[in-house]
Every structure is written in C-alpha cells, then in structure tokens.
Subunit: 484 residues, 2 copies
C-alpha cells in the first residue's frame, strides 16, 4: 500500500492534479505508519529561534492545497520529539500503544462530547464500565468517578470535594478562604499549589509537611502540624498525600496518614497520578496500601499505562459529594434531558464539552487484560532494579535518593569540577546527540538526572547504551570544563 | 486497499492466524474511511439499559486478540451518534474536517505535552503562531493566550485573571470570597455559575443582569446593578459578557458594556466560545464590535470552526496577568529548564500535562485560509436565514425568539393539545427516526426546539427535509396526544 501511494503522489506532483481529501488522508496515514516503523533520532535539536525560522507558520488569506498540508505534517514529524523511541525517558510517560492510537482515531472521527447519554450513548456505557473497574482497584465499591483534564485538575477536584464536605454552604455563599489550609508533603507536585490559587485559598495556605529520607510524608509531622495550625486558629480542611512523587517516586504512607485524617476529621485526597498504576501489580500494590481509606484519588492512565494524553481519572468514595461539586443542572435546561438524567455523565464533571478519553483506556484494557497491566508494571520495576544496580556499581555514578518506584535519581560524580555544571551539561548533550532524553531536578542543592522507566520500548540493552553514553559524556565534559 | 484488507481479514479469520498490530491498525483505518464515506442513520437509538446489555464491557484477566478489539470498534461505530451527518444539528458543533482529523492522528502518534519547549519544540512554534493570529482578530496585539480544556475552563480563567487584577495579594494569602461578585447576563452559560463554585465565590455571588428581548445584556441594567451592589457593600470584580448565547445566539453589546466596566474599573471577560467565529467574517464581525475593549475572551475553535473537541482558546489583553495567574515556576524545578524559560508555554497554562490542541486548528487554517473561514461563516448565516424564513412562513411553525446568529428557536404550534408535551415528543421522535438531532430549551415557560447551523454538511435541501419531517411528526402527534 505504501509503495502504491508513493507512486500515486509522484504522479500528482508531476501532473499538477490536486490531491483530493481522501487521498490526503491516505497519505497522512501512510506517514503515520512509517513513523511507527522507523528508528529515528529522538529529536533534531533546534533552539526556538532557528526552529521558528525554518517553519512556515504563515496563516494566509487564500486556501492551500492538500499537498502543502502534507508537507507541513512531514515538517512536524521531522522536528517533533519522537516520544515513541526507547531513549525517551524524560517525563512520566513514553512509547505508544497501537490500540490506544487506533482508539484516538475513532474518538476524533466520531467527535462528540460526553455530557449527555443522548450525544454519547456508547461512550457513556464504556466510561461507566472503566470507571467502575478502576473503583474496584482503589476499593471504593460505592464510589463515583470521572475523567478529568489531567492530574492537576484531579487534585483540584479533590480539594473542591474536601472543601464542600467541610462547609457545604460555602458553595452558595462563597468561602472566606483566608483561614482554610491544605497540607501536602514537601515533595508534592506543583499543581497542588496552583490548585490552591485557583480555588482561592492562596499559595500560603498550602503548607508542606516534612518527609523522611525516602521523600515520604511523615505521619507524626502531619499530626503535629494539624495541632499547631489549629492552635493558631487555622481551619485545616484537606490533606493531599502523594503516591509516586514526581522526582523521587516516593509513596506516602497512606494507612498512617488516613488514621490521622480520620481522627482529625479531615478529607484525605491522594495524588496517585504517577503511582496509581502500582495497584495493577499484585507484587507492587502494597505501595498503595491504605488507598481504600482515603476519600478521593487521581490516577493518570496517560502516565505508566502508556495511554496517549489526556487520560486521567478522578475517583471518590462518596458519590454524592462529586455530584454536589458538579451540580449545575438547574441552570442548564438546554442541555440535560430529564428523562436520561442519571445516565448523563455531565452531572459528575466540571467540563461541559468533554472528549471521550475513556475509549482508548477501555480498548487497551480489553487487549491487555489485568494480567497484561500487571506484567507491564512488573517489567518496569525489574528494569528499574537493573539500571539502579548498574548505577550503584559504577565508580563514576552516584545514586542520589533511595528508590521505591521506577524513578532513578543519580548524577555523574566528579571530584575535579563543579558537579552541578557537569551534570547540567551532560543532560543537554544527551539530548543534542539525539539518543536519550531524561529529566533533571534539584535535590538538596544537587543538580541530578532523573531517569524514569515508563516506556514499553526500554530494554536492558537500551539501558546499557544509556549508561555507556552518560559515562562517555561525563568523561568528555570533565576534560573540557574548568577544574575547581 | 480496502478490498485487499477485507480479503486478508477473511483469511485470518478462517485460518485462526492472529492479526498483528499493524494489520489491526490498517483495519481500523479502513473502518474509519468507510465511516467517512457512508451515509448512515444518525443514531441507532437504544436506551441505557438495552445498550449496556448488548455491549460487551467485560474487562477480563487475560488478553484479547486484535480481532476482538476490531469487533469492539465496529460495535462502537454502530452505536455512536454519527455527528458527521447533515442531520446532526444538536450541539454547537457538527461535521468533520478531514485535515483536523488527520492532525488528531498525528497529535496522538507524536504524543507529547505542551508544557516545555524541550518536549514540544515544533508544537510550541505552531501554538504561538496560531494564538498570535487569533489575538490579531480579537485586537490584542500585545496580548497572550493559551489553549484551555474548553469554554468552561476559559471562563474560569477569565474570572481568575479578574480576581488577581482586583487583589494581587489574595493569590498568596487567600481570598475572602463572600463579598466578591461577578455579573453575567441572565442568558449566560451554566459554566459561569460552576466557575463561581470552583474559584470559591459561591453561586449566589454570580448575579444575573436583565437582558433585552433579543437576549442581550442591558448596559443600563448593568450600571444600575453595580451601583446597587456597591451600595450594599459588595465588591464587584468581574463582568462576563456573552457573544453568542447558548440558546438564542445573542450577542451582548460589548462596546456599551466595556464603557461601563472601564468607568467602574471592572474586568470585562467575554464568553465568545460560540460566537467568537463571527470575527472571521467581514460581513458579520460587527456582532463582536468592542471585543478589543474587553480584557479577556474565550473562543472555541471546536464549535463553529468544526475542529474536533477540544480546541478552545483563551486570549487576554495584558500578558502579565495570565503569567501571574499561572505562576508556579519556583516549585517546579524538575520541569522548567531556565535556559528556555520564555518559550515554555507551561508558564501560561493551568495544566501540566497538556495535549497539542493547536496543531489541528493550525493545519485547518493553513488549508482554508482566512477566506475559507469567512466563507464558512457566511454560508452558515445564509442557511440560517433560509430556514428561519421557511419556519416563519409556515402556518404550523412558530419562531420563538428573534435571531442574530445561527441558532433558530422555534416550535410546532397547536391549538388543540399541550404544546410543550407535543414539542418534547416531537424532538424525541426526530431522534428515534435517526434522521435529525436537535436540541431543546425552555423560553418563558415554552418548550422549544433549538436548531443550530454549525455543520458543513447542512444544505438547503437537508433543511427542507428537516422542516418536512418536523411538520409530518407534529401532525402525527397532534392526532395521538389527548386534546385539551
């Protein structure tokens, strides 16, 4: 097929007969297939200015032929980051699931919004079934859930549920937020602070609790801080625990935190955007022990489960709270049809227009089965063990944090030059070489490299190559940079 | 190609040789192409219970072969609403753009997040260019913008900008929201009330302003309400005007409202999710006169411009306010690389993981050109004129609201039976017949049918068929329902 299309295209170009839209679509599909097949450098690195210069971003008065749009797409494919390659280990996701990709095509093709059963009949049936499956893993048999616009949004929704439970009237009269306090671990994701800003409690009212050497929130420190804040007259309405922190991959001790929250009558929300997938593996599910004691949780399928962005679930134990937070039916007579009220998923969402993000997860789950997910998580953990032990055994590499999940924080260590400058340069060269992309963070003033295993293309051999390139670059930079 | 694939599939099914993933992808693509080609009934109507019964939603322990996933997709395509057909006139969008569909495939294929230039280099260049184009139409040459998760989210972002401008310290210390008031027209979208709940000012502090007979917010009523509220000690921080209301398609008089807001020093946000596309037509752009005097606006490309969900822009005149609302950089050392700071779009967004929603709009714009959009809007307005005049000339049909945009609110009128019951039943039968889907609303106690022209498949002939079916069903129901 590909060869035929290529010939047809040459004929068009030659004869100046314009492509029609179906021929265009076929050609785009052909490009997609060859993108999946090829091994390419991760990125053809250009800075913003040069990339802007070589990209035709002109939005002109008249129309352009499909041939030009095809060239635009080829240009896009040339300069995007090839997140499906094995060397892509930068954010908390990578690789591509063919089933999920196919589902995305179907979702866009059958473009609809999830707000009513009328507009999304089969989508509603599917979303309900996948949410119910996830509620089972979390241990909220009578709970409810929805797909949100991402973990940041899910954390905000958790805080909104907490605030509503704390003071149901505030939803109507408005909240005096100056006294409301939410507690998080010092390792938590920045979105929690941002959510504090959005819901109006202010950044200063998001207070960090000390964590242990693994980066886990300390339950004793939490209990103490609550006592202290209450003595100060502050109104603590929510604790946000993290299962799988962004940098270290730490899991807060949910059972202990839940005990404190239960005793103090405070809502416990769990940001399990990254670590929630531990639930899928019988071997590693213990990391999430106590999740059934929490009140709400967000869990991203677009991270470790490899579903394309966005696929982020929010699950809550008490269905009625979510319904109340999202209650707007009286003002939307034009949308909700009373006949189908209970099956309109819009009653459980803060969005009006909402894409069907459930289908891709549903079909990927059908194809993999529980077993397949379990195997995926176990494989990732084994690969993380493997590369961790390689790093710890290597004289020039230094692990910077104990490990619980598939995050590995390390650096190239040098006694003769500034280590932060070295590792920063090292990360940059890795990317510019086009073989590997990894993230970075600061831990106790140290610039560290963060590697994550969350891409089905990663193998022991690709990790060997990675370590080899890191060491080679480290040695190279050590020779170039000024000595201390 | 299609025929070959069909034969290959028959061979597999026969020989029990399992499909591989690329053969699966080819077959899904084939299904997509035939979905685009076929004329099908809009929907094979089933209620929730029966649809649940005939759908295999089992998420089992073991894996399933690709053949089964293909059957799942066929089932999905059978029972979804065919939103690409000409009879689909229910929500504020419909039809399918081939270029945008192809772009969606590319976006999912090259799955990335828009937060940093590093992860989305070419995506960043493209998003900046399309935002800049839209800022030009709106008249904010030094403004900024982002793609949000939908109009509801854009309206919330407008309110957050307003609140921050009003009281910059509240972002840090938390707001006493009980006194903060936002003003909207009584015809505004329910998402504004929901946003009031999310940002914590409470539903009661979203106050409706009287509108005129066209459904447009009255500037004199606004000025009076501000005076009144201030006398009561309320703190009015934001006015939300609507360009293109959901039911009637009314456009608030932006110039007059902007004058009031300027005089009273209040932020003016415009919900132009639906009507913003009037800017694209030199003939109809006057509906948005005064938009350049507002402070912020949301404008959905996934409505009248026909881009698949979600594609929703938020544009703001003062770039620095949006940057402040989204300021979280200090806590995200692991994400933002200082070298590329100014080009990391995450600095202008409340999302962390964010899909590339710009590409589909960019490529559709390249293909259509300004001229193409203009023609699209003008055609929609002509079709709306056409059907409006047909309805007004028909003895049994009654227009229920004056018209400014492509919304047409009408009902079948009857003197012998309850008109609300009749029109409700009429709408339902239309859908069950599978030829047409339209929306409904209540206007002054009347159950009305809302038709919108926002689907490129609609023609005068499809509208003729629609009117014919409405009249036929009206007569049929009139005979069946009990007389007054």
């Amino acid at each position: 097929m590909n060869e035929n299309l290529r010939i047809i295209r040459l004929i068009w170009l030659d004869s100046h007969i314009s492509m029609d839209e179906m021929q265009f679509l076929d050609s785009v599909y052909e490009l997609a297939v060859s993108y999946l097949d090829d091994e390419r450098p991760l990125v053809d690195y250009q800075n913003f200015e040069s990339l802007e210069k070589i990209t035709d971003t002109n939005l002109q008065h008249g129309p352009m032929p499909y041939e030009q749009i095809l060239l635009d797409i080829q240009h896009y494919l040339k300069y995007c980051v090839k997140t499906n390659q094995s060397g892509f280990m930068n954010p908390l996701w990578g690789g591509i699931s063919t089933v999920a990709l196919a589902s995305e095509l179907i979702t866009s093709l059958t473009n609809t919004s999830m707000y009513t059963f009328e507009l999304a009949p089969i989508g509603t049936v599917i979303e309900k079934s996948i949410i119910s499956k996830m509620l089972g893993y979390v241990g909220y048999p009578d709970g409810a859930g929805t797909f949100t616009t991402g973990g940041s949004n899910g954390n905000m929704l958790g805080m909104l549920c907490a605030r509503l439970k704390h003071n149901p009237m505030g939803m109507h009269t408005g909240y005096d937020n100056r006294n409301l306090v939410a507690l998080v671990s010092e390792e938590s994701h920045y979105s929690v602070v941002m959510a504090g800003n959005v819901i109006g409690i202010g950044k200063e009212n998001i207070i960090s609790i000390k964590s242990d050497s693994f980066g886990r929130m300390r339950a004793d420190a939490l209990a103490e801080e609550i006592k202290h804040l209450r003595a100060e007259g502050k109104d603590v309405f929510c604790v946000i625990a993290t299962s799988g922190t962004t940098v270290k991959g730490s899991f807060d001790p949910l059972k202990e935190l839940a005990e404190v929250c239960f005793r103090e009558n405070i809502w416990l929300h769990v940001d399990a955007a990254w670590g929630g997938s531990a639930l899928l593996s019988s071997k590693h599910t213990h990391l999430m022990d106590g999740i059934d004691l929490a009140d709400s949780v967000c869990w991203d399928a677009h991270k470790m489960m490899g579903i394309p962005l966005i696929c982020s679930s929010f699950l809550v134990k008490d269905e009625s709270i979510l319904a109340k937070v999202c209650n707007h039916t009286k003002s939307a007579h034009y949308l909700f049809q009373s006949e189908e009220k209970t099956n309109d998923l819009g009653h459980y969402s803060l969005q009006c227009g909402r894409r069907n993000d459930a289908l891709k997860l549903f079909l990927a789950w059908r194809q993999k089965g529980d077993e397949g997910w379990s195997r995926l998580i176990d494989t990732y953990m084994k690969l993380a063990d493997y590369v961790e032990s390689k790093i710890s055994l290597h004289a020039r590499l230094e692990l910077v944090s104990p490990r619980e999940w598939t995050n590995i924080c390390f650096r190239y260590s040098s006694e003769i030059i500034d280590q932060n400058a070295l590792n920063k340069e090292l990360r940059k060269r890795l990317m510019q070489n086009g073989n590997f992309m990894v993230s970075k963070a600061m831990i106790d003033g140290m610039y560290i490299i963060r590697l994550v295993i969350s891409n089905p293309e990663i193998t022991t051999s690709s990790l060997d190559n990675f370590i080899e390139e890191v060491v080679r670059l480290g040695e190279e930079i050590e020779k170039e940079l000024p000595h201390k």
